[in-house]
Symmetry: C2
Subunit: 333 residues, 2 copies
Amino acid sequence: MKVWELGEFGLIELIARNVGKPSREELVLGIGDDTAAWRTEKSIQLATTDILIQDVHFNLSTTTWRYLGWKALAVNISDIAAMGGTPSYAMVSLGLPPDTKVASVRELYRGIKAIAKKFEIDIVGGNISRAPVVIIDVSLIGNASQALLTRSEAKPGDQIAVTGYLGTSAAGGRMLKSSIKLDKSTTALLKEAHLRPKPRVAEGQTLVQHGVRAAIDISDGLISDLTHICKASKVGAKVWIDRIPVHPKVKAAFGNKALGMALSGGEDYELLFTAKSSVINKVKNVMSTPLMVIGEITREHSGQVTLLDEQGRAVDWKERGWDHFKSQGQGKA
Amino acid sequence: MKVWELGEFGLIELIARNVGKPSREELVLGIGDDTAAWRTEKSIQLATTDILIQDVHFNLSTTTWRYLGWKALAVNISDIAAMGGTPSYAMVSLGLPPDTKVASVRELYRGIKAIAKKFEIDIVGGNISRAPVVIIDVSLIGNASQALLTRSEAKPGDQIAVTGYLGTSAAGGRMLKSSIKLDKSTTALLKEAHLRPKPRVAEGQTLVQHGVRAAIDISDGLISDLTHICKASKVGAKVWIDRIPVHPKVKAAFGNKALGMALSGGEDYELLFTAKSSVINKVKNVMSTPLMVIGEITREHSGQVTLLDEQGRAVDWKERGWDHFKSQGQGKA
């Protein structure tokens, strides 16, 4: 059955059935009215939106509809995680070619539901439209009960740290696009990293609880996202490239290309943050997720990231990360 | 200058400069971080999202970028209006072909800013992406301090009423698409109705304050949107076609096609609501916007709209309104 046969309203009904019952008592209205509505206590609310467009952010030959649903929500959850917040309500806008299979839309929502359930998010609205390619735009609301992690709070002397491993998602993208054959466990690791990223919500909350105030999630790539922090905080950054946590399986599979993937591959959805070393040591003591200190915030070279080799010499690095309009013709996923 | 020359981040900076300073003290973060953030009092929050896609919802040969910006926000504001709420924060996701002129994006934001200013809305975030066609997806947050206008509160015996005139937007769309020449004042009226709709925010608030509880904004078309109310409220509706407020200029220009435009043309963004006649009379006394009672809610024929002629005979009406997937090949704007 095709989307155009079911029709817009049929599809909305299908989705309303598929997202299930909302979990929150304070929700007044979810899908089925002009807007979603909920009551709030006095707290800080968070809102973010991120779009996935076919053949720009993903390719249906290298992902599945279910993975796509997961990722569309995951990239937004990661933004809430990067604030130290908790996601709560999501709206999903779909653009679909009329000959899209209804089964595909069902699969998409299976992916959305799976991650929504994991992070206790209610899907409270959205809309569907005809489109020349598949478009998935998610808006996500969240809240933070106390201080936030922002891009503008990095201070000279702060250490720069990162959760998890970098470059795994970019390696996964390369593997899927070029149909490179790797061993079973590497294939599984890279595929998961690229198609089903795990946002660091609990980690973001731990950071903010222990006094970290500056963070960003790595979506464009380490250098690019660290540059965002430097510009917003009016500071510089130096990064020791031998401290970059490249996954050993990525090193084994991609050799000297692995570092580039970690520096500017993007879509890692790890948290990049800065804080005094005393704060970072406290965080290290309570967090089970691996943390790596990779550099230091500087007063000089404001707005810039300087890469240093083992001898402390500046390294010239050409690829700076993902830019939607400058990286023409190069699909991200 | 083209979008791809300026780059994604250059474009974000341009937009951040263009949306201006936020108006609310409680706003913690607007554009420039991972999410927007604001504090809230205890009230009902509203959230809605609506997408405009090139050659589906609009055509760049019949609209301008500035009109497009206005309309992208207007259609969302109309949803908040249909709840009796007040819009507050908006996020704008843009998908743009890389050769889009930067001047066009600036014009788009002039339109967005104009309506945002009129309704005191802060643009607090969004994202930009490369896309094969122009995509504008707006998410809008609002709040309601008291009761809401919902689709599910229509009761048998309620009168059905509508604000303003219907069919004017559809007539405008037809005029622009077919390059029909009409007199100056008709041309101006229809063009404004189609390209620069005025959401009924104040009217929605007046309705809810005076005891109305069931409403929807007319985006898909009168019959289609009244059917949404009937299904959600599990009631029927009868509508007297001679009471439909077709604008005299539309009648003069389009003759016997005018009624069809009013019944199923869509995009009127007027409010369709139901209430006891005593409530509607109270509303009529305080509202300067024209109101027309066009029918009655019935217990029988649940989920259905019945059209009646002057003699009270049921009229068969084929066109039921806009459906994104069933109306293939027919652009809405």
